[in-house]
């Protein structure tokens, strides 16, 4: 019987009814402390240390603080130190402050070669969907499930429904993977993928690089999807080859991975098609990622906000301090943030740097670049990207989640308006009262220079 990629992976991991085996468990400091405490209280251990790895990312200051002990914020320090102590007590490998392998958990998994096709991967973080770009089944879990995986290396799960979104044609110049996924969420809505594992397919997906594919899968959760997946291909294997944790029997592994792709006759519970060639650079105007329009557009009137209900749109516009009818390119910015598990990899930084071309950040804008990992930072510096950014007036910082969620010193002040390459424009996400517009790295860099949004397709 023909199977989808999801079904092949699911079936191969069923231990018994509704119980699936987990091949890789990524742990970070925010959602794990209570799980470790639960293990201690019940007298339980960690079943598979060799399938578990931890890093500190959410709370980490991006100013180069060298060890957890020196984090100024007492609660952040306690949380990171608690992670280090828990990992030491249970024997879990941990990359915390001071480690050159440290970084955002969804950046270091692929970087170290831990993220591989065909695996089941979980983490106490909703953006775990990122790893699906390699043809893995990867999804976020809560703290009780973190404890469950630590104790049993399995999860109790009902089989989700399947959806495939096919993107015909190619993305135009200046239109990125970020725009593709924002436009998709704009069409399907923030709950359009709830209950589904989504396979992204088609010409436009085939042409994306691995890091662009990670951006697409990363934001699956913003459409409500359980997981996003892309079939592994030569692009995948070329990206993985030579990384630390990949299999020694490379040829056999690649042959195994090629067999994961969805069979021709397999069927999905739902199918959608989107014309990739019709997409434009996107900018969010509201307080969910689904409140998004093309850069050439105007801020919508609440009664004309597409699938967003009028009262919801009205409240979002009030929070964002935006008038309906305003040209997106007339929206002036205070801050620009290039980073997060969505857009902080080396290709993102290269793409942003390529927009600068000797220009400088607008005087009213404070702009920061936060590499996703210490490895990305090192590579960026080897390529001279740090110099390009610094010369233009951007801050070049140490790795971490930074201003994506403001659990560390990088935050917006009330009513500050930010062009951000992150994944959530929720109220207060980047700091209480802060106003977030989600965009691609290229759009963010150009916005930093102009001090407002520009259509990068006609900008030079």
């Amino acid at each position: 019987m023909p199977k989808t990629m999801f079904e092949k992976i699911w079936d191969a991991h069923l231990v018994r009814d509704d119980l699936i085996y987990i091949d890789l468990h990524l742990v970070h400091e925010v959602t794990s402390a209570q799980a470790f405490e639960g293990l201690r209280l019940a007298g339980r251990g960690v079943r598979r240390l060799d399938k578990t790895v931890a890093t500190a990312d959410h709370n980490v200051p991006t100013d180069g603080t060298p060890t957890a002990r020196l984090i100024t914020d007492a609660l952040s320090r306690q949380q990171v130190e608690t992670l280090e102590q828990n990992c030491e007590q249970f024997g879990i490998p941990v990359y915390s402050l001071g480690s050159d392998r440290r970084g955002i958990v969804h950046v270091i998994g692929p970087e170290l070669g831990l993220t591989q096709p065909g695996l089941t991967i979980v983490c106490g973080d909703s953006h775990t969907s990122t790893h699906g770009a390699f043809g893995a089944l990867a999804f976020g879990i809560g703290t009780s499930e973190v404890e469950h995986v630590l104790a049993t290396q399995t999860l109790v799960q009902k089989r989700p429904k399947t959806m495939r979104i096919c993107y015909d044609g190619a993305l135009g110049p200046g239109v990125t993977a970020k725009d593709l996924i924002l436009a998709t969420i704009g069409r399907l809505g923030t709950s359009g993928m709830v209950g589904f594992v989504v396979e992204y397919a088609g010409d436009a997906i085939d042409r994306l690089s691995m890091e662009q594919r990670m951006t697409v899968c990363n934001m699956t959760i913003e459409g409500g999807g359980r997981a996003g997946m892309i079939a592994p291909d030569d692009t995948t294997f070329a990206y993985m080859r030579g990384r630390e944790a990949v299999p020694a029997d490379w040829g056999a592994a690649v042959a195994r991975w090629r067999a994961l792709t969805t069979d021709d006759d397999a069927t999905f519970d739902r199918e959608e098609t989107i014309d990739a060639s019709s997409l434009a650079p996107m900018v969010t105007w509201g307080t969910t990622p689904g409140m998004v329009i093309e850069v050439t557009g105007r801020v919508p009137h609440p009664s004309e906000a597409g699938i967003v209900a009028p009262e919801t749109a009205e409240r979002a516009l009030a929070y964002m301090g935006l008038q309906p009818g305003t040209q997106v390119t007339d929206i002036a910015l205070d801050r620009v943030f290039i980073g997060s598990c969505t857009n902080s990899r080396i290709e993102d930084l290269r793409a942003a740097a390529s927009m600068i071309d000797g220009r400088t950040v607008a005087s009213r804008v404070r702009a920061m670049v936060v590499p996703g990992s210490q490895q990305v930072k090192k590579q960026g510096e080897e390529e001279g990207l740090d110099e390009v950014f610094r010369a233009a007036g951007f801050e070049w910082r140490e790795a971490g989640c930074s201003m994506c969620l403001g659990m560390n010193p990088d935050t917006l002040s009330p009513q500050e308006r930010c062009a951000s390459t992150s994944n959530r424009n929720f109220e207060g996400r980047q700091g209480a009262g802060g106003r977030t517009h989600l965009v691609s790295p290229e759009m963010a860099a150009a916005a930093a220079i102009e001090g407002r949004f520009v259509d990068i397709r006609g900008w030079n």
């Binding site: 091949d23 009780s144 709950s191 919801t312």
Partner: protein, 186 residues
């Protein structure tokens, strides 16, 4: 986890769609390493600004896509510790729904029109065994997975249940486990 059987009382109404977990419990309260003490920070920014007020009644009724965004289980702990025992909405995010069931906070999906009627009714009785919500003189039924229902009704620890299948996990690892990375070898 305490068993969940019948939840009865006044309804608190939060008539908004897409209430994300960043609103339910803002990021600055995720730095705690305990499972308790979150109730007072529920909807911190919305309460503090006076944008909404909610009484700690047994039942919270809200708009669609409730609990979207971050996987933070702190959102469930905050709702529960504030005083709610059940949340009724037209739809929930997958992760939030799962997190509810691990903590004995009963999530109930009802059609939009029933949710509206329940908001207007002001009081309700939820019977998990019968899978019913009774309000304003009528009774509607809701769907819930049979295993989840059993676990909630008896307040069972999911990890303990899974550990009963230890031999199945052992044989899976011995016979069928896929080759994968070894984190301890890095």
């Amino acid at each position: 986890m305490e068993p969940v059987t019948v939840i009865s009382g006044t309804v608190s109404v939060l008539d908004r769609a897409d209430v994300d977990t960043d609103q339910i419990i803002p990021k600055q309260f995720l730095k705690r390493i305990e499972r308790t003490g979150y109730g007072e920070f529920l909807f911190y920014d919305w309460f503090r600004s006076g944008e909404i007020t909610l009484e700690p009644n047994p039942i919270l009724v809200a708009g669609s896509n409730f609990g979207s965004g971050s996987s933070r289980e702190h959102a469930v702990w905050a709702i529960q510790q504030f005083g709610f025992a059940a949340v009724v909405a037209p739809s929930f995010s997958d992760i939030f729904y799962g997190n509810c069931t691990k903590n004995g906070l009963l999530p109930i999906r009802l059609p939009e029109e029933d949710v509206r009627a329940l908001m207007a009714a002001g009081e309700a009785t939820i019977n998990l065994e019968r899978q019913t919500v009774t309000f304003a003189g009528r009774t509607v039924s809701f769907e819930i997975d049979a295993d989840v229902k059993h676990r909630l009704l008896h307040g069972l620890d999911e990890i303990a249940l899974t550990l009963q299948h230890g031999p199945d996990i052992d044989s899976y690892e011995r016979e069928r486990m896929a080759p994968g990375p070894v984190t301890t070898a890095l």
